[in-house]
């Protein structure tokens, strides 16, 4: 049973698409209801993943079936999740029903196609997260583009065609280069005995530096575009601004995570030396992205664009944390991915809600909405503060760990500069909030706005819940991902010299740095022995620094 869950949730939406074709186009209610049902069922079906997940570094719920065997190539239908993908899969299945609900009435035209696109998108996203076969991953990675392209292009705003085409081609350029590297990697792997495209074959291959460099760059480019990292970000504001609410929500919540996920899953552990070499570059770009996007966000006139730029900044934090390459940073980065999915997803929902009512997103068209829409104001405020990273909300935990991790690694100065992004995020978010929600309700068009209806409340409540839950009790999330991330650290740091570690006083270093002593760590132990400072050998999972005796 266990091994089919992943395939089930991935292809359930596809089955949904086929069934959708038999529902008459005029029956919009049924179309929406059916799609909602499919996504909800998918979500429910994905819950066993959390409950059944054993906290270790192994791939779980694995299914491996031969798929293509031709010539030198062997591709398998090889799926499975570990702590890294578990939450991203959950995020995807969780966000989909919300996305479907979010444009319940906003999309009145071509409902059938719209719903089909949403479901197809889900197939692509889930597939990409669960693939353990590089080729399979690539297929899903590309498949994702198509429905998103249509969602933006058909149901988008005024400038939608430009945005859709830009989105598609921009992403395509990167991913095709990745394809080249991927194939080259396979041939390299074949030479050292890799039997198929399964990801595990390619770890620890000790490629020569030049090869690593270009392959890493190819992978990194594809992922950087998706993230998006400065200066490859310009497709994002356009895509976000033009996409319908559900599109923006999914784009922000899940699609962008593909990029950062790609780094963690592929680019870094596959090419450790190149990762080390390019860490300064990527950290620099991340930090620039944080500051830059924040400053640009500050002066945006369109709420949605502002949120889009804030996404760029947030993802900059993720990248910084990931490339800190220590437990804190990576866990923070992963958590920040989830947080960003929840908070920014919620922000886009909020923008969608007012857009639906007013058909404008210009900040200057609003003002004083708090008076007219108190419930909305409350929710908006919570989400805003989550996005700012207020302690107690989810945003804080991730951001804090990222900065801490970066600070503890070699990226200290980057961390310090990035921390100033914390100030800027407060500036642009609160300024926007103030202009939209505070002040006098003097625009007559705003005076008749209705507060949230029950559907809108229903979509916001789970997100609000998560905002606080992850803010106050992120432990279950972190715990489940820890072993897998430790493995990533081990794989990526395999060849790293000790000198790259933080400076230590010789007298005061009784412990090994994480991951150095046991590169071939037996996966499956509850906590990574290699990741524990030897000072606390007997305390798996919990290591409060004791009082030095």
């Amino acid at each position: 049973m266990n091994e089919v869950i992943l395939s089930l949730i991935t292809f359930l939406p596809l089955a949904g698409v086929f069934l959708l074709l038999f529902i008459p186009s005029e029956n919009k209610g049924l179309l929406r209801g059916f799609t909602l049902a499919v996504t909800v069922v998918t979500f429910l079906a994905s819950l066993p993943l959390v409950t059944g997940f054993v906290t270790n570094a192994d791939y779980q719920f694995v299914m491996k079936m031969p798929w293509i065997q031709a010539g030198p190539f062997k591709m398998n239908y090889h799926v499975g999740i570990d702590g890294i993908s578990l939450w991203l899969v959950m995020l995807t299945t969780f966000i989909m029903p919300i996305a479907v609900l979010s444009t319940w009435h906003a999309v009145e035209e071509k409902v059938k196609g719209y719903m089909a696109c949403l479901l197809l998108l889900q197939v692509g996203m889930l597939g990409a997260f669960i693939s353990l076969d590089l080729f399979l991953f690539y297929i899903f990675w590309e498949v994702m583009l198509i429905p998103m392209y249509f969602i933006i292009g058909i149901w988008g705003g005024k400038n939608r065609i430009y945005a859709a085409v830009k989105f598609f081609i921009y992403t395509m350029v990167g991913s095709l280069l990745m394809l080249v590297a991927l194939i080259a990697l396979y041939f390299k792997g074949m030479a050292t005995g890799a039997p198929d495209f399964s990801l595990v074959n390619f770890f620890g291959m000790n490629l020569d530096p030049a090869t690593q460099t270009w392959m890493f760059l190819a992978f990194a480019l594809a992922f950087a575009i998706k993230v998006p990292m400065f200066p490859l970000h310009t497709w994002l504001p356009d895509a976000h601004t033009e996409a319908p609410t559900a599109g923006s929500v999914i784009l922000a919540a899940v699609l962008l995570k593909m990029g950062t996920y790609g780094y963690v899953r592929f680019a870094m552990p596959l090419f450790p030396q190149a990762t080390e070499r390019f860490t300064p570059l990527i950290a620099t770009l991340s930090v620039i992205g944080i500051i830059y996007a924040s400053l640009v966000a500050m002066v945006q006139e369109d709420v949605k664009k502002l949120v889009a730029y804030s996404s760029v900044a947030h993802l900059g934090f993720v990248m910084l944390g990931v490339f800190a390459l220590n437990q804190m940073g990576l866990q923070g980065g992963m958590l920040q991915m989830l947080n960003h999915g929840v908070s920014t997803g919620a922000l886009f929902l909020i923008v969608g809600i007012i857009y639906e009512r007013r058909h404008t997103r210009l900040i200057t068209d609003f003002g004083g909405l708090s008076k007219q829409m108190p419930v909305f104001a409350t929710i908006f405020m919570i989400v805003t503060f989550s996005s700012i990273g207020l302690p107690g909300t989810n945003g804080f935990v991730g951001e804090f760990l990222v900065l801490l991790g970066a600070f503890e690694s070699n990226l200290r100065w980057y961390a310090i500069i990035a921390s100033s992004g914390v100030i800027l995020s407060a500036v642009y978010m609160l300024w926007m909030f103030q202009r939209v929600m505070f002040g006098k309700l003097d625009n007559p068009k705003n005076q008749k706005l209705e507060d949230l209806n029950s559907r809108e409340i229903a979509i916001m409540v789970p997100l609000i819940f998560l905002i606080f839950f992850m803010g106050f009790y992120p432990k279950p999330f972190i715990d489940k991902m820890t072993p897998a991330l430790d493995k990533v650290i081990t794989q990526t740091r395999l060849t790293k010299p000790v000198a790259a570690q933080p400076q230590m006083l010789p007298a005061a270093m009784p412990h090994e740095q994480p991951g150095l002593e046991s590169p071939a760590m037996p996966a499956g132990q509850p906590a990574m022995p290699g990741a524990m400072p030897a000072g606390h050998p007997a305390m798996p999972g919990a290591m409060p620094a004791g009082h030095p005796k």
């Binding site: 085409v165 080249v180 041939f187």
Partner: protein, 484 residues
């Protein structure tokens, strides 16, 4: 004076060609003697002929044989290509009937001509003697000249036919001269013996005569496959020719050209591989780039697909440069999938077009996806496949071609290839932009589907999706079809 030795004639080897030729001739006669308005039955008869031929072709799979003292062979390589030709011919025939009716040039000769062209292609694929290859090529070309100019009433069609004819003949000159020089340098016209002679005599690229012969032959084949800079006829001819024939031409002769190109260069001239690889490398880059970039600007969808077909020739040349098993198998697979996707796309173009080849502009597709959702989806599938986006066959094909190049160490070539591929996405997407992102301005009243048409589209969709999702068996066949 020696005794004349009657060479071994093995008719079984050319059985498919014979069958198809007989059918073609019979159809010619029937066309003349049987009166009637509709010529559709000729189409069905030719389909029958193709099916019979197909069986005859396939039955030879796995049993290599040669005939006519080694001037023609029956090997898997030839069989794989022959299947492609037959599929292309059959699919083109399925969409011809409606088109001719609409354009008012309902003449039955078109079917036998298609069959003759197919025979020519089959000869090219099966020929192991420069002579046979040349003959096949000419049989094909002469038929195609007529097919391109088939719509006598249309000036565009006339022009296409005439241009094709003049340039085709011109290129034949080069090809022949190349063959002559090769003959002069090696003393034989049989590909296997050429290779043997080169190996035995130890001649290499310093032999200018052989080198010149090789290069001139390459230009001749490059013309056939529409590789830059010998591609310039392609857009004009494709645009002017009757659409079903454009579909046919863009697939069949290109595949045939590659079949001959591959056989001559890989079998006869492997010793000069270092020489011709660079040539093909340059050709590949030029072809991809020129094809794709020029296509970006096109408004006429037929012309756009013409440029796109140039680009696709470029991709295939990438596999050729690789010259290894993966690359070559990639060529075979790619030509097969290209047949499905390209003819499928042209089928839709026929449906959207009006008499006199109107409505062929991309902008005429505005809203098409909503008026005819199923056709729209089909068109999307073809276009995505052409763009090389999974899970369509076009992606797997490109994957294989580029894999070949990467395996052989031509990373930059692969990079140029994928960048081209990314650029190409723009113009394929553009069609979809109009199909889905713009509202229709007028009614699409002119789409009339016949069962044959539906069949053709079904085959095309299946032929794009099945090898796309489960390419294993097809790739396996392609691997087995290699003569190396």
């Amino acid at each position: 004076m020696e005794n004349i030795v009657i060479p071994a004639i093995n008719m079984a080897v050319i059985a498919p060609e014979v069958i198809l030729s007989l059918f073609a001739m019979a159809l010619l006669l029937i066309n003349v003697f049987v009166k009637g308005e509709s010529k559709a039955y000729l189409g069905y008869l030719s389909i029958a002929g193709i099916v019979v031929t197909l069986f005859s072709v396939v039955s030879g799979w796995g049993c290599p044989a040669e005939g006519f003292s080694g001037t023609i062979v029956q090997d898997n390589f030839a069989i794989f290509f022959k299947v492609i030709f037959l599929i292309a011919a059959a699919m083109s025939i399925l969409i011809t009937d409606r088109y001719l009716e609409r354009e008012g040039c309902n003449q039955g000769e078109i079917y036998p001509l298609i069959l003759f062209a197919t025979v020519g292609m089959m000869l090219m694929a099966a020929g192991t003697d420069l002579m046979t290859i040349f003959l096949g090529l000419e049989v094909l070309s002469v038929s195609l000249y007529i097919l391109a100019g088939f719509n006598r009433g249309s000036l565009k069609s006339n022009e296409a036919g005439l241009k094709y004819f003049l340039l085709g003949a011109f290129s034949t000159g080069f090809l022949l001269y190349g063959m002559a020089l090769t003959y002069g340098a090696t003393g034989t016209t049989k590909v296997a013996k050429i290779a043997a002679f080169i190996a035995q005599a130890g001649i290499n690229s310093s032999n200018l005569m052989l080198l010149a012969g090789m290069l001139l032959m390459a230009t001749g084949f490059a013309f056939k496959v529409a590789a830059a800079p010998f591609h310039m006829w392609t857009p004009d001819v494709y645009e002017g020719a009757p659409t079903p024939m454009t579909a046919f031409m863009s697939v069949g002769p290109k595949a045939a050209g590659f079949a001959a190109f591959l056989r001559v260069f890989l079998v006869a001239l492997p010793a000069l591989k270092a020489e011709w690889t660079w040539l093909v490398w340059v050709l590949a880059v030029l072809t991809m780039t020129i094809g794709n970039i020029t296509a970006l600007y096109q408004q006429n969808i037929k012309r756009m697909l013409a440029y796109s077909s140039i680009a696709h020739a470029g991709y295939v040349l990438v596999g050729f440069v690789a010259g290894n098993a993966v690359g070559t198998a990639g060529i075979l697979f790619y030509m097969l999938s290209y047949a499905f996707m390209n003819i499928g796309a042209f089928a839709i173009i026929i449906l959207v077009g009006k008499k006199g080849e109107e409505n062929n502009n991309v902008s005429d597709y505005a809203g098409f996806g909503y008026k005819h959702p199923i056709l729209g989806i089909a068109m999307c599938i073809f276009l995505f496949s052409l763009a090389g986006i999974p899970p369509a066959a076009g992606f797997i094909g490109k994957f294989y071609l580029f894999s070949g190049a990467i395996q052989a160490g031509y990373i930059w070539l692969a990079v140029i290839g994928v960048l081209n591929s990314a650029a190409s996405v723009y113009y394929y997407l553009r069609v979809m932009v109009f199909m889905y992102f713009k509202e229709s301005t007028e009614e699409f009243g002119w789409v009339k589907l016949s069962p044959a048409f539906i069949l053709c589209l079904l085959i095309a969709v299946a032929g794009v999706l099945i090898p796309g999702v489960l390419p294993g068996v097809f790739l396996d066949l392609a691997q087995k079809a290699l003569f190396m």
